[in-house]
Amino acid sequence: MRNFNAIDRKEQEELKRSHVLVAGCGGLGGYVISYLARLGVGKITAFDPDEFAEHNLNRQIFADMSTINKSKVEVVKEALSLINPEVEFKGIKARFEEGFEEMWESDIKVVVDALDSIPSRLELAGICREKKVPLVYGMVGGWYGEVGTQFPGDETLENLCRMGIKGQGIEKEEGVLSFVVGGTAALQAAEAVKVILGRGEILHGKVLFFDFLEMESEVLELA
């Protein structure tokens, strides 16, 4: 892998030995998985119950005219075999909440949230807490993205979503712009890699809010 000195040889081996679980293979999930595969993460498990649809074309990296109506996890599997065939990828065509118990493996180092609703996200946070695994969450809507990392025992995501347990946020009216998805997913991939390697500054107990329209960002304390 050609990550040179940014990630040294020992760290590269660590990534190769690591298992990351990604909940969702749509907008955020597609980008996160492709970033992790290109970085050399050895094992990726992903969940998604859906097939690609025309309305995914505006923002989902693996949605194109040839993949419409195909299972998202199957499409991702095929794409990864071309991006980095050494990745051991397991795609599960189910909602995360339904399938995780059967497939949970003790070597999972970090879970990445790429879900599209707040109730599912909170459920995912509960499962990660129970399994004692860090969760990198990401949320997008319109021109805006939010990213942070929740460690077992934290309630950052719950604090962030307390008022929105009903379901959706501004994305319902605003939609989501492609680069907001890609940019937010890039930040999530960076967080996941740092959690694995134990390096750098992690958004622990915090959320990074990014406004792609005004090019402003805020780091908010949520602990």
Binding site: A114, G169, L220
Partner: protein, 74 residues
């Protein structure tokens, strides 16, 4: 009392980025939300001076109130 109100993301549409208001003593966060006609179901996180607060909190002279809408897509 003077309070600086900062709005984020879609809440800026037709409103402002930041403005200083003079509120009567005892004004709560929810009163500001109502006065600015912010849709309660779109509310995400609210901070006073960088600390996460609820709608029921009373404002004080010199506070900086930041209001973010809920972002939930993926």
């Amino acid at each position: 009392m003077k309070v600086k109100v900062k709005l984020f993301a879609t809440f800026r549409k037709g409103r402002f980025k930041e403005e200083v208001f003079d509120y009567p003593e005892g004004t709560k966060v929810k009163d500001v939300v109502k006065q600015l006609s912010l849709p309660v179901k779109e509310l995400g996180i609210i901070f006073i001076n960088g600390k996460h607060v609820s709608l029921e909190v009373e404002l004080k002279e010199g506070d900086v109130l930041s209001i973010f809408p809920l972002v939930g897509g993926g």
